[in-house]
């Protein structure tokens, strides 16, 4: 355990581990999910771009799992946390439970995620918890490109009209009830705010997120995402689509436990 984590009272440390688990699982799941486009994206440039985005996320996830492993300090390493949990143990936002779908689904899902994640990372940029603050400082420089790219795509699909716009609207509709789940309040989040680990509660982060995406949605005449339909289960009760993805990404590990590759 890092000294920074050892200084925290147990309730705050538990809340911190849930925050880290949420962030790491979000990056892990969207990384695996988007890597499904490798080889079959609608054009070569996007095949490269989506694969590169996925690779970034699958780099952020282990770095976050490593910080988490030091905080929980229960003998599990980053790989054990990442791979050795049943479906029910994953704590990613339900927005990421929606499967790959068509291109518009993946773009809409990633746009909603990247903008919410940017708000979350910003709220951690002056965190009192050093290991997370340092990592976030580095991650933000990479995520900037993701948000830039996704904003360009939303713009392109929404303003082209015809089928691209229709598909984007349909995707936003399908994701609507879970669109806001990335920033849904975490258990005991007030203790994190009071310890200076994050600078706002989920409710405040949600307001910042809406202020961030509002101008884009207004300019493109897109419907703003409604509040999460079931905020209490924002990170539980995972879907069939995730159950399938979990089978995919644990396949090697469960065939050869403890293998390195």
């Amino acid at each position: 355990m890092t000294s920074a984590a050892a200084d925290l009272v147990p309730a705050t440390r538990n809340a911190l581990s849930l925050l880290l688990l949420a962030m790491a699982d979000d990056e892990f799941v969207i990384g695996f999910s988007d890597s499904e486009w490798t080889g079959i994206a609608p054009m070569l440039e996007e095949d490269v771009a989506m694969s590169s985005l996925a690779q970034d996320e699958l780099g952020h996830a282990p770095a976050l799992y490593r910080v988490l492993a030091e905080v929980v300090d229960d003998g599990r390493d980053a790989d054990a946390i990442a791979y050795d949990r049943p479906v029910e143990g994953y704590y990613h936002a339900r927005l990421l439970d929606h499967g790959r779908g068509d291109w518009a689904d993946s773009i809409a899902r990633r746009y909603l995620y990247d903008t919410a994640d940017a708000v979350r990372l910003e709220a951690l940029s002056t965190s009192s918890f050093g290991p997370l603050r340092e990592l976030v400082g580095k991650i933000r420089r990479e995520e900037r490109y993701h948000e830039m790219h996704m904003t360009a795509w939303i713009d392109r699909l929404a303003s082209t009209g015809g089928e691209p716009r229709e598909r984007l609207l349909a995707a936003l509709e399908r994701l609507a009830s879970d669109a806001a789940t990335v920033l849904s309040p975490l258990p005991n989040e007030l203790s994190l705010v009071m310890a200076g680990i994050i600078d706002a509660t989920g409710e405040e982060l949600d307001a910042r997120w809406r202020a961030r995406i509002g101008p884009t949605f207004e300019r493109l005449a897109l419907p703003m995402p409604p509040p999460a339909a079931d905020p209490v289960n924002a990170r539980t009760n995972h879907s069939e689509a995730f159950r399938w993805l979990h089978g995919e990404f644990t396949a090697v590990r469960s065939t050869q436990p403890g293998a390195t590759w």
Binding site: A49, Q55, D56, E134, E142, Y145, H149
Partner: protein, 146 residues
């Protein structure tokens, strides 16, 4: 010559595994070198959090420093974020020479033309974008500004 200086010049011979034209020192990846009688500690900064070349870089550093006859410990950290500003002038020249536009350089590394198109913000590795020169019709890669 102090051992620290000798270690640093040895590290200047360790090439980046993905762009062998540039050393890890010119890439700005080497943050600190500590030498004691018992060990050599090298602190490195990952260019990208998930850079898959990190293990290869650590192994190359350990190999190159084995001649100093004491245990080598290589650590990666984020306390100081690696940014493209850390690439040295010499490193930038070496990138251009091997066909990569250095970060922030908007011209073609082959013919120097500014008539260049960003084909894709993303490229074959996390740290690169792909571009196309409309003057000499050469596709090339550019370092992302991070």
């Amino acid at each position: 010559v102090s051992t620290v200086a000798a270690v640093r010049s040895a590290l200047a011979e360790v090439a980046d595994p993905e762009i062998p034209a540039i050393s890890i020192v010119d890439l700005g990846v080497v943050e600190g070198v500590t030498v004691t009688d018992d060990e050599i500690r090298v602190e490195l900064l990952p260019t990208f959090v998930g850079c898959p070349a990190l293990d290869a870089i650590a192994a190359a550093v350990e190999d190159r420093l084995a001649a100093f006859g004491r245990p080598v410990e290589v650590r990666f950290g984020f306390a100081v974020p690696w940014t493209t500003d850390r690439i040295t002038e010499r490193g930038r020249r070496q990138l251009t020479k091997s066909g990569f536009a250095p970060p922030g350089d908007e011209t073609c590394p082959y013919c120097g033309s500014a008539n260049v198109l960003t084909d894709n913000l993303f490229g074959p590795t996390q740290c690169r974008s792909t571009r196309y020169c409309r003057s000499c019709r050469q596709p090339f890669e550019a370092f992302k500004v991070i």
